[in-house]
Symmetry: C2
Subunit: 131 residues, 2 copies
Amino acid sequence: MSSFDRRTVLSGALAAGVGASAAAAETPIAPMIHHVFFWLKNPGSKPDRDALIAGLNTLRGIEVIQQLHIGVPASTEKRDVVDNSYDVSELMFFKSVADQKLYQDHPLHLKFVKDCSHLWAKVVVYDSIAL
Amino acid sequence: MSSFDRRTVLSGALAAGVGASAAAAETPIAPMIHHVFFWLKNPGSKPDRDALIAGLNTLRGIEVIQQLHIGVPASTEKRDVVDNSYDVSELMFFKSVADQKLYQDHPLHLKFVKDCSHLWAKVVVYDSIAL
């Protein structure tokens, strides 16, 4: 069974107050995961953080993005393995690697990079295929 | 509007072949994102990778996990910012930081760490709150 397990589908269906058929629950939604972490040039700057978040929100106009979650570090327990030194994160789900490429080349994404890349000092990207 | 935007809800509802009310579509589903990347001690070992993946699948029994996506590096374009050197990834959604703590302390998670930690050389965790 796909890792896009039935809870993924059911959570949406339940939020909408409906049931889901078993067949629908087996349907994978978005198997490619693209997670980007940004470290600002000025880490303490709320205006810079807000400008980056505003830029990321413009990406919502890109049709191939199935889900977009813009985040900031969570106040979870301090542990050696946890890296919460970044300033802003962007998590996207795509249906395929090909769709992720369409996103990379999309005018809205290129405009985002042009308008916002001066804000960050470092970017780390992780691309995964869900099993 | 939450980054758990209406597409998150609608995708589930549409997969179930139903519509969603505007009120339901505004409901945030899971605002805390926990993403873990594992580097194996034996990166070329398929048995070790499969054992780690099997271990991660046991975490599906933990109720506070809203979504669990187990992944491997995607064959996206090689770019300096992309780190696809890890072997296995685990992406979880929780309703809250408190639920994530319940997960950390859950017997199934503790058993997973006990049974599988000999497999990995390095772990990096990113915890985010979706805006």
